[in-house]
Symmetry: C2
Subunit: 327 residues, 2 copies
């Protein structure tokens, strides 16, 4: 660790503010010491420049926020965990500079603060390109509070939170897609969906409490992620493409891109909404749970006995191929 | 995540074997669920190709082992934590390939298994160069069991475990240093010190139980790391260069490099031994603690009231400058 990196760590520590109530010994010792809950729920998410983002398209604060949001989204998908701590591994390319590194951390720090998460430790190193890796920890009292991918049963209803496709559309706009006239507020909202996704922590907890039997977050797109859930549960997820909730402005952007908006919504990824499987008896409770988080809940399909996969009932393709982001 | 990466994750999961008794839901869901201890002790350590290692100098298994060892060394330095889980963020450069990625994980997995650590989750992504980042978690019943960097008091004795300088000498040999005739076993031992350092987990626990008041692990070299401890404790660490325990073969390598072996031992880094500050009353108990781990303990100095820094009593330089590894 060079002196520049030590200075940066000091600066980061100052920027991060007070530690959460759980933290006994925070940044600055060999390891962070935190008062634990009964069960730790831990996920790792790494974003690499040129693979997951471009520094020419996002501000440092957006890069920091987005990477932390992706990691917290995994905690949200586990349902009943209380967000706890986040640990950062930050790789800085030559010339990135301390001011931008601080902006990156502060962008993540703002999301952490309003998510009830303490950035409790981390590591800063040189790297060939910008690398932002978060390990996030939530705490739960009982494993039964936590919702895996494997609990879906035939007859369950399939829901998604929020709207889909907005992140992919925001990326297309950043990449310079020609979309003609588009309302500035709509453009800004699509940009925000890509640049500052919101982990659905409250909705994940509420849906778990409402009786959701399986959940996954939509990082790679519904066609891919619901497939993981289907395989883990050993059941088929039948989804109606026509039922997917489309982000405002998506139809306009997709018309310009000459892409089917619903297929785009099912495959573009990075929305970080939740897909939940809920028994029919819990339908109204699940809707109320989402409403309590000021979030739309849309029923998009049903779990069936059958080959473990996603089947789009109203598409001639049994599974849509993933849309590869063109960074 | 492309299909190749999903296949790799499946292959890694198969390679890793059974999860530890704490793990409720391991690899394969959105997050790992682990039965917690009362206090979580967490550290992050990242190694980047070209910065911390070269793939031309180390095997994949050594790279995986070495990065995990560095992370676990931080847990060792906290003293009384029981090793728990490790989470991996792995960035693979183009063409690295699944066989080498598996070797890397298996190298780490062997160290994890004999350290009582479960590799409970992680993330695999594409990257421009090889990146291996570990977040490791230990568990403690009481914060008082844990030894920070800030507890050293004037009058305490300063000890180091094992021998110093071996890792730097091993790297010099890898880099092709001309050292004339050197015993093959000595050369292999120096290589191992660099390529497969051993985190001093048992010694850390034993020294904590013996009454050590402050500890740090030697990743950047005693001159640098003891300086962190001095600043955190607000006291001067007076160290006798002549007292430093030198790795077998170091004198020979340093003679060829025309470097002072003791200065090299104080600055070369990557030894992952422990530096502990112990009250004189606990001297014999600390020695017995190290002996119980089949590890040498060498008294190298004393804590004094004074400017918070390391002072080498028998060197005309008040602090040695860090030796920059020439990868």
């Amino acid at each position: 660790l060079g002196q520049g990196e030590l200075d940066l760590i000091d600066a980061l520590n100052r920027a991060l503010g007070a530690a959460g109530a759980r933290v006994i010994t925070g940044r600055g010792d060999d390891a962070a010491v935190v008062r634990a809950g009964r069960f730790a729920v831990t996920s790792v998410d790494t974003m690499v420049e040129g693979v997951h983002f471009r520094t020419s398209q996002l501000t440092p604060a957006e890069i920091g926020h987005r990477a932390l949001a992706a990691a917290l989204s995994d905690i949200a998908a586990m349902g009943g965990a209380t967000p706890g701590e986040a640990y950062l591994a930050l790789g800085l390319p030559p010339g990135f500079g301390q001011p931008r590194a601080l902006e990156l951390i502060e962008g993540a720090g703002a999301l952490a603060a309003r998510s009830g998460v303490t950035i409790a430790g981390g590591d800063v190193t040189s790297a060939g390109e910008l690398i932002v890796s978060w390990t996030v920890v939530g705490w739960a009292d009982r494993p039964q509070q936590l919702i895996g991918r494997d609990g879906a049963r035939p007859g369950d209803l399939v829901a998604v939170t929020g709207e889909l496709g907005g992140s992919g559309a925001g990326l297309a706009l950043l990449a310079g897609a020609e979309v003609g006239r588009i309302d500035a507020a709509v453009r800004a909202a699509l940009h925000a969906r890509y640049a500052r996704p919101e982990p659905r922590l409250a909705a994940g907890r509420a849906l778990a409490a409402a009786g959701a039997r399986a959940m996954i977050d939509l990082s790679d797109g519904l066609a891919t992620d619901a497939g993981h859930l289907a395989r883990a549960s050993g059941a088929e997820l039948e989804v109606e493409l026509a039922a997917l909730p489309l982000a405002p402005g998506l139809a306009h952007v997709c018309a310009s891109l000459r892409r089917d908006a619903r297929e785009f919504a099912a495959t573009a990824g990075d929305d970080y909404e939740l897909c939940a499987c809920v028994p029919p008896s819990a339908r109204a409770v699940a809707e109320a749970a989402a409403r309590s988080c000021e979030l739309r809940l849309t029923w998009v399909g049903r779990v069936r006995a059958g080959k473990p996969r996603v089947r789009f009932a109203d598409s001639d393709r049994s599974a849509l191929r993933g849309y590869e982001h063109s960074l």
